[in-house]
C-alpha cells in the first residue's frame, strides 16, 4: 500500500499525461523499427506491383527513387527525422500510391469513426441492459441461462457473424446494403457485427461485478433497513459494479479499432482497418506507421479519459490516486 502523502489532483493529471506520451512514443518506436528493419525494399516492391511482373526498373532508377523517399539514410537518422516530421504533423507520402498520408487517412477515417462509434453506442447500453437483467435475481433460472450469453457471443468468430448478417439481411431479405458505407442503412450491419463480440466481454465483467457486490455486507444492511431491492440494486449495487465496466469500456476502444479490419473487409467499407490491412500487405511503411500512431493516440486518449473519470465516480479513489494503480 502506498504510504506517501496523497498528491494533488493536478499532479495526478500530469502523471497520467506523461504516461500517455510514453505510450505514444513507445508505439512509434516499435512500429518504426518493425517496419523499416523488415527485409524487402519498398521501392522495388512498389515498382514490381505497378509493373505486374513486366520488370521493376533499372538499378539506377531504383536508386533515384530510394533517394527521393529518404531510404538511403542510416536507420537511426531516419528514426529521428521521421519522429521530427511526425511531431510537426508531417505524416509523409504513401510508397504505393504516392499520395500524402494525411489525404489517405482523411478519406477513410470518417467511415471508421462512424463505425466504431456506432458499435460502441450499440455495445455499451446493450451490455449494461443484459448484465442488469442477468444479475437482477441471482440464482434464478433466468440468471443461469443469461449468464452464458456472453460466452456464446464471444465464441462466434467476428467474420463468420458478419458474413451471416450479410447473407440474411442483405442478400436474403434485402433490408440493408451488402457493401459500401453510405448512410445509416449501410452502417447497421457492420456496427452490429462489430458490437456483439465487444458486448460479450463488457457484459461478462459487469455481471461478475454485480454478482460480487451483491454479496457485500452493505447490501445486506441496506436490505435489512427495508429499502426496496430495485433501489438497492440500481443505486448501490450497480453503481459500485460500474467501476471496472468503465475501465473496460476504455480498453474496448482498442478492440473495436482492431475489429474494424475484419468488419470493413467483409462489408466492403472504406476505413482505417482496411487501409491498414492493405498497407501492411504492400509494406507501405508511412501509412502503417501513421495508422499505428493514430490508433495508439485514440486508445491512450480514451484510457487517459477513463483514468481521470474514475475518481469522479468513486470517492475512494480520490485519496489514493498515485502509485498503487500505475
Amino acid at each position: 500500500m502506498n504510504t506517501r502523502p496523497p498528491r494533488s489532483a493536478a499532479a495526478h493529471v500530469l502523471r497520467r499525461c506523461a504516461h500517455f506520451a510514453v505510450v505514444l512514443f513507445a508505439v512509434y518506436t516499435v512500429s518504426f523499427f518493425l517496419l523499416y528493419a523488415l527485409p524487402g525494399d519498398p521501392v522495388a516492391l512498389m515498382l514490381e506491383r505497378r509493373s505486374a511482373g513486366a520488370g521493376g526498373g533499372t538499378p539506377e532508377q531504383l536508386a533515384a527513387l530510394r533517394a527521393r523517399y529518404g531510404l538511403d539514410d542510416p536507420l537511426p537518422q531516419r528514426y529521428l527525422s521521421t519522429l521530427g516530421a511526425l511531431l510537426t504533423g508531417d505524416l509523409g507520402t504513401s510508397f504505393q500510391s504516392g499520395r500524402p498520408v494525411p489525404e489517405l487517412l482523411a478519406a477513410v477515417a470518417p467511415g471508421t469513426l462512424a463505425l466504431a462509434g456506432a458499435a460502441l453506442v450499440l455495445a455499451v447500453p446493450f451490455s449494461l441492459a443484459l448484465a442488469l437483467l442477468t444479475s437482477h435475481r441471482p440464482g434464478s433460472p433466468a440468471h443461469r441461462i443469461l449468464v452464458n450469453v456472453p460466452a456464446l457471443l464471444a465464441a462466434v468468430p467476428a467474420f463468420w457473424l458478419a458474413l451471416l448478417l450479410v447473407q440474411v439481411f442483405s442478400f436474403g431479405l434485402g433490408w440493408f446494403p451488402s457493401a459500401g458505407g453510405e448512410g445509416l442503412p449501410g452502417l447497421v450491419l457492420p456496427a452490429v457485427s462489430l458490437a456483439l463480440p465487444v458486448s460479450a466481454a463488457l457484459t461478462a465483467v459487469l455481471v461478475r461485478g454485480l454478482d460480487d457486490v451483491q454479496r457485500a455486507g452493505f447490501v445486506a444492511l441496506l436490505r435489512a433497513r427495508g429499502l426496496p431491492w430495485r433501489r438497492v440494486y440500481l443505486a448501490h449495487v450497480a453503481r459500485n459494479a460500474l467501476l471496472p465496466f468503465v475501465t473496460l469500456t476504455g480498453l474496448t476502444v482498442g478492440g473495436v479499432l482492431a475489429g474494424t479490419v475484419i468488419t470493413e473487409t467483409v462489408f466492403a467499407r472504406a476505413g482505417l482497418g482496411r487501409l491498414l490491412a492493405s498497407s501492411v500487405e504492400t509494406q507501405d511503411a508511412p501509412v502503417v506507421l501513421a495508422i499505428a500512431v493514430l490508433a495508439a493516440l485514440v486508445f491512450a486518449a480514451v484510457n487517459l479519459l477513463t483514468d481521470l473519470l474514475l475518481p469522479l465516480l468513486d470517492p475512494r479513489l480520490r485519496h489514493r490516486t498515485d502509485g498503487a494503480r500505475a
Binding site: G40, L47, G180
Partner: protein
C-alpha cells in the same frame, strides 16, 4: 499478369458455412435484382493504388475505360486495325513509324486530338520511363529517339534501333492517348486523379476502397471495328464496387446486386452451382504462363540434365487438373494459348518420367541411400520459392510437385515468401527455382522480357548467348514471318534446355448474370471491354 492479394481462406470457408446456414441457394430475393437496364454493376476485389495506366499495370480495368489507343488488334485474326490512327506505315526497317490520325476526335475535356498531342504523349511517356515511374511503357519504347508532328494529322516516331514490337504496343492501354491537360500533370497527380482520355467513358466518381463510377461519354463515335459496336457506349453508367471478400462478390451476383464479379474461385463457383440465372465466364490470360523460373547460375541447376529432367518429370495435366480450378490448363508453350506468338510445343513438355530418370543417370546423378540422387558428393537438393498470396498459387500444387520430383530422386524444399522477400531474392541472385508469371503482353517482346538474360529481372542466371541473340534479333525484325521463325527457334531452345519450366496457363474466372451480353476481353483478361456490354432488355 496482374498479381493481386487474396483475402484469407478462412473467410471463404466461413462464407460457405454461412450459406449453408441461411439456405441461401434458393432464397435470393434481394430488392436490387436486375438494376437499371443501362447501368452495369461490377464487383471487383481491389481498389486501384494508381489510376494512371501508364504507371500501373495491375489496375487495367480502371485505366482502360477512359482511353483509346492508336491501333486495335483484331482478336480473331491477330491483325492490327485502325483506331485513333486511320493508317500507319513502318519505315526504315522498323526504326521509324508514321501514323495518320482520324479526324474529329476530342478528349472528354474538349481538347482536340492532334498530331502534336500524340507526339507529346510519346515524349512524356519516355520522360516518365526515364524517371523510373513507368517502366512498362519504357520497355515498349525501347530505343526511343524522338516523336514529332509532321503536319496536323501525321505523327512520326523514331527509334535508334528497329523496334518491331512498337506497333503492337499501340494496342495496349499503357499507350492510351491522353489530353494535353493530363500531359501537363505530374506523375503523382496522374496516379491520384487518373488521366483524361478520348475513350467511351469518363471517370465520374471515386470513393477510396468502396467504388468507382464511370459515365458514358456523350458524342463518342470512334470505336474500332473489333469492338463490335458503334457510337456511344452501351452502358450509361458503370459502377465498380470494391468487394474484397471473394465469396461475397459471388453471392452478390447470385442475389442480383451485381451483374458481374471478377476473380471468383472454387468457393464462389460452388455457390453458383445449379443456378440458371448466372454463368461462368473465362477470360484467358495472354502472357508468359505460370513458370518455374530456373537460376541457371546455380551450381546444381547449371547442369542441363537436371533442368531437362524437371521439364519432363512434371505431369502438367495432372497438376492443372487436380490442384487448380476452372480455367487452368496445362502449359503447351512459354506463353498462353491466346497469345499471338503461341505455338503448340506440348511434345517438348510431355510427361516422361523414364526419360527424366535416364537423363539424370546419364549425367552421373546416382541414387543415394535415402533416394536422393548424388553426383560428386553434391546432393540433388533444390529450393522452390513461391509467393503464397499470388492468385493461382496453391500450396498443395507445389507439394504435389515436390512429391513427384522426389520420385525422380530430386529433393525439393518449398519456401513460401512474401512479395517483398521474393523481390529481394530475385535481385540477390541467391535463389534456385521460383514460381512466376510474366506480364501480360501480346507481343514476342513479352517473351524476351522474361527469358532474355539481358532483360530479365531475375538476377544471377548464366548468360545464354544463343537465346539472347535470337530474342534480340526478333525484337528488331519487322517481317512477321521471319520474326515468328526467330521466336520459335528461341522458344524451342528454351524448352529443350530447360531455361524455364512452363507449368500451367490460367484464366480469370468471372461470374455473370445471364442477362449480361457482349462481354469480351479483346486485349487481356484484366481488361473487359465494357463499352459493348449490355443487359437483355437494356440495349440502346
Amino acid at each position: 499478369m496482374t498479381r493481386a492479394p487474396r483475402t484469407g481462406r478462412p473467410l471463404a470457408a466461413c462464407a460457405a458455412a454461412a450459406l449453408v446456414l441461411t439456405g441461401c441457394g434458393g432464397t435470393a430475393t434481394g430488392g436490387a435484382t436486375g438494376g437499371a437496364p443501362d447501368e452495369l454493376r461490377i464487383a471487383y476485389g481491389w481498389y486501384p493504388t494508381c489510376f494512371d495506366y501508364a504507371q500501373s499495370n495491375p489496375f487495367a480495368l480502371f485505366g482502360r475505360q477512359v482511353l483509346d489507343t492508336l491501333l486495335s488488334e483484331n482478336p480473331a485474326t491477330g491483325e492490327l486495325e485502325p483506331y485513333l490512327a486511320e493508317s500507319w506505315e513502318t519505315l526504315d526497317a522498323g526504326r521509324a513509324y508514321e501514323f495518320t490520325l482520324r479526324e474529329g476526335v476530342t478528349f472528354s475535356n474538349g481538347e482536340e486530338l492532334t498530331a502534336e498531342v500524340v507526339a507529346d504523349n510519346f515524349r512524356t511517356l519516355w520522360d516518365l520511363a526515364e524517371r523510373g515511374v513507368s517502366t512498362t511503357p519504357g520497355a515498349y519504347l525501347r530505343g526511343f529517339e524522338q516523336a514529332e508532328a509532321l503536319d496536323a494529322r501525321t505523327v512520326r516516331v523514331e527509334f535508334a534501333e528497329p523496334n518491331a514490337g512498337f506497333l503492337q504496343a499501340n494496342t495496349e492501354g499503357q499507350f492510351g492517348i491522353i489530353a494535353p491537360e493530363s500531359l501537363a500533370a505530374g506523375p503523382e497527380e496522374r496516379c491520384a486523379h487518373g488521366t483524361i482520355g478520348s475513350g467511351p467513358f469518363v471517370l465520374a466518381e471515386t470513393v477510396q476502397d468502396e467504388r468507382i463510377v464511370y459515365e458514358r461519354r456523350e458524342g463518342y463515335d470512334w470505336a474500332p471495328a473489333a469492338f463490335g459496336h458503334r457510337g456511344e457506349a452501351v452502358p450509361a453508367e458503370v459502377t465498380i464496387r470494391i468487394v474484397p471478400e471473394e465469396s461475397l462478390r459471388a453471392a452478390g451476383v447470385l442475389a442480383g446486386e451485381y451483374d458481374l464479379a471478377y476473380s471468383v474461385t472454387e468457393a464462389g463457383l460452388a455457390q453458383a452451382e445449379g443456378r440458371d440465372d448466372v454463368t461462368t465466364v473465362l477470360a484467358p490470360d495472354r502472357s508468359v504462363v505460370n513458370t518455374l523460373v530456373v537460376n541457371t547460375g546455380d551450381p546444381v541447376l547449371a547442369d542441363p540434365a537436371v533442368r531437362q529432367a524437371i521439364q519432363r518429370g512434371i505431369d502438367r495435366a495432372e497438376l492443372a487438373g487436380t490442384f487448380y480450378g476452372a480455367g487452368v490448363e496445362p502449359a503447351t508453350d512459354v506463353v498462353s494459348r491466346g497469345h499471338r506468338f503461341h505455338t503448340d510445343h506440348s511434345a517438348l513438355l510431355s510427361h516422361d518420367p523414364e526419360l527424366a530418370r535416364a537423363l539424370l543417370e546419364d549425367a552421373g546423378w546416382a541414387t543415394g541411400e535415402d533416394g536422393v540422387r548424388v553426383k560428386d558428393g553434391q546432393r540433388l537438393e533444390l529450393s522452390l520459392t513461391y509467393v503464397g498470396t499470388d492468385i493461382g498459387s496453391t500450396v498443395s500444387g507445389w507439394e504435389y510437385l515436390q512429391s513427384r520430383l522426389a520420385g525422380l530422386g530430386i529433393a525439393l524444399t518449398l519456401q513460401p515468401v512474401s512479395p517483398a522477400e521474393q523481390s529481394d531474392l530475385r535481385a540477390s541472385a541467391d535463389w534456385q527455382l521460383a514460381v512466376y508469371q510474366g506480364a501480360s503482353r501480346g507481343d514476342a517482346d513479352g517473351i524476351a522480357a522474361f527469358y532474355s538474360t539481358d532483360f530479365t529481372h531475375w538476377q544471377g542466371q548464366a548468360p545464354r548467348p544463343e537465346v539472347d541473340a535470337l530474342l534480340a534479333e526478333q525484337s528488331a525484325t519487322v517481317d512477321p514471318r521471319r520474326r515468328a521463325a526467330l521466336v520459335d527457334e528461341a522458344v524451342t531452345t528454351i524448352l529443350e534446355q530447360g531455361y524455364g519450366i512452363p507449368l500451367f496457363d490460367s484464366a480469370q474466372v468471372l461470374l455473370a448474370r445471364t442477362e449480361v451480353t457482349g462481354l469480351t476481353f479483346p486485349v487481356n483478361a484484366w481488361e473487359p471491354l465494357l463499352y459493348a456490354v449490355g443487359k437483355d432488355g437494356g440495349e440502346r
